[in-house]
Each structure stands twice: as structure tokens, then as C-alpha cells.
Symmetry: C2
Subunit: 216 residues, 2 copies
């Protein structure tokens, strides 16, 4: 299975690529193909030193969409609309949004768009055949990158396409110790997206780093 | 320290009283004092059989407010305004709200009042000297009641009065294996209150019971 990461050279995308590429064929997309290639070279070298084989290919964001079975939009909320304006080819694709619309005011808070969530905004931007799932919202960039650290976290997954959701949950459950939980339809994504500002507040007020979540 | 539970004969209040009364003086309030007394008699007997001493007193809701150092509002959201209409004496009291404004539509979702959260609605209803903290939102009634089961959960606590928040976090940390986390000011309570519909969705879609949360 091929997983394409749009924004794959960003903070979160890069760590995701490192974690995913020993398990799946990973296509790292970037606005600048050169940057994606450099990220993949460095990533391959890092994993090789760890004795891990991987499959990492640096391409443009559009190529990452075109060549992938599953596309992960590893982009900040503020770039969501701008990035999608430049891309097409989402028909029938499984698209994962880990995007959290939030702002730091006196504290971190959730500022969803009028659609109700980043996931529903995304739905309004993509063709109706795109199979959108919300996932990976609460895994901090640093945790993705610390390859020696197991990810003992729960990952709530939302989506309206049952088969796509099953496939995404399968991907989640392959990564480190992550455990996927079905968190309902795509319209319930706001309840997942607003976990991240909560976790950032908890990190800040309790002097912790990269706080994650487990359900049990 | 005396803890008063308004709505202490309800589903959650009853379990809270059982867990708290071996640790603190617990005053169980109800609209019907007789009912509160019966709950306390039964609770005392249950705990005695387990070899636990306790301090449980059944009173009216108003008496529970008047006699307590810390008041817990163990009432459903739909009864919040109605119950507070009948009560006074909150000046200077520490008041804990575990109240979650939510509804079951196609799935469970968060429906906050115009104030932004149940906690901020409560703030508008109580005198300005009341020291409101959000806590205990995500512990299911059944978990409170299953006295043999340790509560391995995290409890996010919000509030604007630092000393009151410290005291509430101290109470939380005394109960079973609960661990309190400072989740910021009272205005951040919506991020805590909306955890409960998320947990109910996760329970429903993954065929689980009484799902709780841990931060780490």
C-alpha cells in the first residue's frame, strides 16, 4: 500500500514519514520537490543506521496525491484551503486529516470553521467521492520523530466510509503501539480536533511535554 | 474537610459519595431529604460490610451547600438552571461542576450554552465570590459505583481561583488512582466538557463500556 504525505517535509509530516516508511511505501510530498527528496535521503539514511529498511520517495504534493492509495494531509490548518487550491486528483482516494483548527489566545482553544470542523471544511473542498477520515490529530510532532520512543497512545478515527475507516484504523494499528478507536461519523470530528488544544493546555499548565491521550 | 454533593442521590452523586465518604465528611443533598438519608444509610452499610469507616449525612440540597467547604454539583445539565434557582449561599464556596452539556443526535455531541460552557453558564448564575472549578467530567457513574475497581483515570481541572483549584486537585488525587491535571482557566472548560460526548461515542462505536481517559 502506498501512503502519500502532503506537507511531508513539515514538522509532523517528516516524523510520520519516518514511522510509516518501514511499514508502507511512503511518498513524501512538498511544494518543492527538491526539499522532499532531501528529506527522504536523510530519512532513509537515519533508518538505515538503525538497521531498518524503508521505502521513501520525495515528490511534489500533487504527485503524492496521484501515486498514493491513502493521502495524509500533514499541513497546518491555516494552509489547508491554500494547499487544496493547488491540488486535484482526490476522486475515490482515502484522505486522512490530522488537522486541528486552533489558536493560542490566553490559552489554546478550538476555533472551528463555519462548517463545524476542519474535517467538514475539507469535505466541502474535495470531490464527493473522496473518502475522508479524521485521524492522528493528537500525536505531537516530537513524538513522531523520537523513533526510539514507543507511541503508547489512542487514536480516535472519524469517517463516513466504513471500508475506508477500517483501512485507516488498520494503518494506525500498525504504527508502534498506537491503538485506533472508531470515534463515529465525519461530523463528530470536532470532538477529536478539540483534543489537541486541551492537550497543549495540559502540557503548559502542568509543565509537561508532548502530552498524549489513551482511552480505556 | 466537608464535601457537599448537590444531587447526591442521583446516578453519579451516589457513587461519588461512596468513594469520597471514607476520605472526607460527605454531606449528601437531595430535593427530598428523606431520600438523601436513605442513600446515606445504605451507603454506610455497604461500606461497613467492606470494613470501611465513612462519614455520610443526608440533607437537603440547600443544607449540602450551607454545611460544605466544597460543593459538587452532581446534576444533569438540563437541571442546572432549575436547581440553582432554588439554592443560595454560594458566596466564597468552592463549587465543582462535572456538568456536560451534550445531546444524543445521530451520535453524542457537545451543545454548549451561549456562555460557551456549562462552567461559564454556572459562573453567570452564582455570585462573583463563588470559586468555581470544572472537574470529574469524564468519570462514568458506573465507575464511581464499582468500589472494587480502581479509577485509573486522568481528571482535567479548570478554574480561575488558583488556591481553590489546588484544593480541588488535592481532593481528586486522594480518590482511588485518579490523577488531577491543571487544564487552565474556567474559560477553557468547554475543552473538558466535550470529552464526555467523545468518550460516549467511542464506547458506542467500539462496543466498550464506561470509557475513561488518561493523559501522559
Amino acid at each position: 500500500m502506498k501512503i502519500g504525505i502532503v506537507g511531508g517535509t513539515g514538522d509532523i509530516g517528516e516524523g510520520m514519514a519516518m514511522r510509516l516508511s518501514p511499514l508502507f511505501d511512503v511518498i513524501v510530498g512538498s511544494r518543492e520537490k527538491d526539499k522532499a527528496e532531501a528529506t527522504c535521503e536523510l530519512g532513509t539514511e537515519t533508518l538505515r543506521k538503525r538497521g531498518q529498511k524503508c521505502s521513501l520517495t520525495g515528490v511534489s504534493n500533487q504527485q503524492a496525491v496521484d501515486d498514493a492509495d491513502i493521502v495524509i494531509l500533514a499541513i497546518p490548518y491555516k494552509h489547508l484551503i491554500g494547499t487544496l487550491d493547488t491540488l486535484d486528483g482526490f476522486d475515490g482516494k482515502i484522505v486522512i486529516t490530522p488537522v486541528n483548527p486552533m489558536e493560542k489566545r490566553d490559552f489554546f482553544t478550538y476555533i472551528p470553521p463555519p462548517e463545524g470542523s476542519a474535517a467538514l471544511l475539507l469535505k466541502s473542498l474535495l470531490p464527493p467521492t473522496a473518502r475522508i477520515c479524521t485521524a492522528f490529530n493528537t500525536i505531537a510532532a516530537n513524538r513522531w520523530k523520537l523513533l526510539d520512543v514507543d507511541l503508547h497512545y489512542s487514536v480516535p478515527v472519524c469517517g463516513d466510509d466504513a471500508a475506508a475507516k477500517q483501512q485507516v484504523m488498520g494503518v494506525v494499528n500498525h504504527i508502534s503501539k498506537l491503538q485506533a478507536f472508531d470515534a463515529g461519523p465525519l461530523a463528530a470530528s470536532h470532538l477529536v480536533e478539540c483534543l489537541t488544544p486541551l492537550l497543549l493546555n495540559i502540557a503548559r499548565y502542568n509543565k509537561m511535554k508532548d502530552v498524549g491521550i489513551q482511552f480505556h
